[in-house]
Amino acid sequence: MSDELKINVEGVGELAVDEDGFIEDPGKWSEAVAKHLAGTEGVTELSEDHWKLVNYLRNYYMEFNIAPMIRKLCKETGFNLKKVYELFPSGPAKGACKVAGLPKPTGCV
């Protein structure tokens, strides 16, 4: 198929992503991958707050195999929604989850 898309991460090599740029295999995630993906979502530098959010998402995902609901995310990180969008301007689902290497959240219309 034509939609075998790849990204090239320095020091890691090629990784398969889907058409929205989410990595296909969450097991291949690393901090270097996160930095690369952040660049695709308009985040040039990952601050301590970025990492707090990303690590929260990853830990939640490892434990429950699903992304947390947004309200839970805000409560447990202490970031309000405005802050989340300041950190990841494309939002928690498209931005933060992608950078954290989670599988694409189920699409909703």
């Binding site: 198929m1 058409e19 929205d20 301007p89 939002g91 928690p92 689902a93 189920t106």
Partner: protein
């Protein structure tokens, strides 16, 4: 479309051109020469008809910076055969309240969309939005920038407040019991954050109808239905009633016999209304608009919970507030909206609509959380099962 691309043959779709009704095939074909995307859209659909299979992937996540909703991402799984529809994202654009446009505004929208998308629109989608069908990921930011420069904004999608929508109310209709367009605009502005940044368990729709005719079908299509009503007497002009009778209207058969609560009485000379039993169905007013009109003490009934079937079956909204006055700045209503969001956002399951949530936790518990007292108008239908024990019974024992 470039010359070396062949127009797809569409013998099966062409069947849909036959007959007296409008056809989307005809509309798409007007763009087929100009737009590769229209050509490939027809090609893929024809192919679908042949193989009897669908080729759209579901569930893309695309969007614009700052917003978590407004764009519905879609991809074709036949991108090699139909490259122009490889991406086919939909953009929801917030419609003006009541769908009033100047022709200049329409031209502006169409120009942006013809330049940066397929040129195919749906005016309007079931959410009420202007729907732009079919564009690429790279075009999203430029479209957003051009739309906002012209004063437009994206609508809602995903688990957020969907673009509020309303009937054209007082702008055109003497039955409007409150300013639907004013309220719709106000709520849209007030809840911008909820509209653009998903924060609920699932979608939440608000629709506003000026009277119980409910031209926007809010009672079936919105989680929160705000339907105009009155609490005094129907206004009546007896001489106009007599005129309807002398013009040949069979008032007894057409009006009186069809009143659902049988609260009308007609003796050939005078129409009487037992207003205390009128359920504001609008029937008599619809039949004799020159003689009857909604009362003067006007406001709205607020109802909650309707949805279309996806996981659970379809539901209609049911009464939350029997009567509320609606005057700017609509403080009481906004306050209630905030209070009903709270328990649902806190305890709702992923993808659980508020109507389903209320069924699950029980209306009593829900009302307690929201701080609204139960009233008889909230009863959906009379009790059928005598083997029900109420809390008081249990406490007594």
């Amino acid at each position: 479309m470039t010359d070396n691309v062949k127009k797809h043959e569409t013998p099966l779709l062409d069947e849909l051109l036959k007959g007296p009704w409008p056809s989307f095939v005809k509309e798409f074909k007007t763009l087929q020469d100009k737009k590769a995307v229209a050509n490939d859209l027809l090609g893929q659909l024809e192919y679908s008809y042949k193989t009897k299979l669908g080729y759209w992937k579901h569930g893309g996540i695309v969007g614009v910076m700052g917003y978590g909703g407004g764009v519905i991402g879609r991809y074709s799984s036949l991108a090699e055969m139909f490259p122009a529809v490889k991406h086919f994202h939909t953009i929801r654009v917030n419609q003006p309240a009541g769908w009033f446009y100047t022709s200049k505004a329409l031209r502006t929208l169409c120009d942006i969309w013809e330049k940066r998308g397929s040129g195919i629109t749906n005016m309007h989608g079931s959410t009420g939005d202007i729907v732009f069908l079919g564009t690429n990921t790279e075009e999203l930011e430029p479209i957003f920038e051009e739309l906002t420069k012209e004063g437009f904004d994206l609508g809602g999608s995903g688990s957020n407040l969907r673009t509020p929508s309303c009937c054209n109310g007082q702008a055109r209709c003497e039955w409007a019991c409150y300013d639907t367009m004013g309220l719709c605009y106000d709520l849209t502005q007030t809840f911008q954050d909820e509209l653009h940044r998903p924060q609920f368990p699932y979608k939440f729709k608000i629709k506003m109808a000026g009277c119980p005719n409910d031209c926007v079908a809010s009672i079936a299509r919105s989680d929160l239905s705000i339907i105009g009503t009155w609490r005094d007497n129907i206004q009546m002009d007896q001489s106009a009633v007599l005129k309807y009778a002398s013009d040949g209207l069979d008032i007894q058969k057409i009006v009186v016999m069809n009143c659902p609560t049988k609260c009308l009485d007609w003796n050939g000379k005078e129409l009487k209304i037992d207003n205390s039993n009128c359920v504001k169905c609008m029937h008599c007013i619809n039949v004799m608009p020159k003689a009857l009109a909604p009362g003067k003490d006007r406001g709205a009934t607020v109802l909650l919970g309707s949805k279309a079937p996806i996981i659970e079956g379809a539901m209609l909204s049911s009464v939350l507030i029997p009567f509320i006055k609606l005057e700017p700045p609509f403080k009481e209503l906004k306050d209630v909206i905030g209070r009903i969001w709270e328990p649902w956002a806190e305890h709702g399951k992923n993808r659980e609509r508020i109507g389903e949530f209320i069924e699950r936790v029980g209306k009593g518990n829900f009302l307690e959380e929201v701080g609204i007292d139960p009233v008889p108008e909230m009863v959906k239908h009379p009790r059928e099962n005598p083997y029900i024990f109420y809390d008081e019974y249990l406490e007594d024992e």
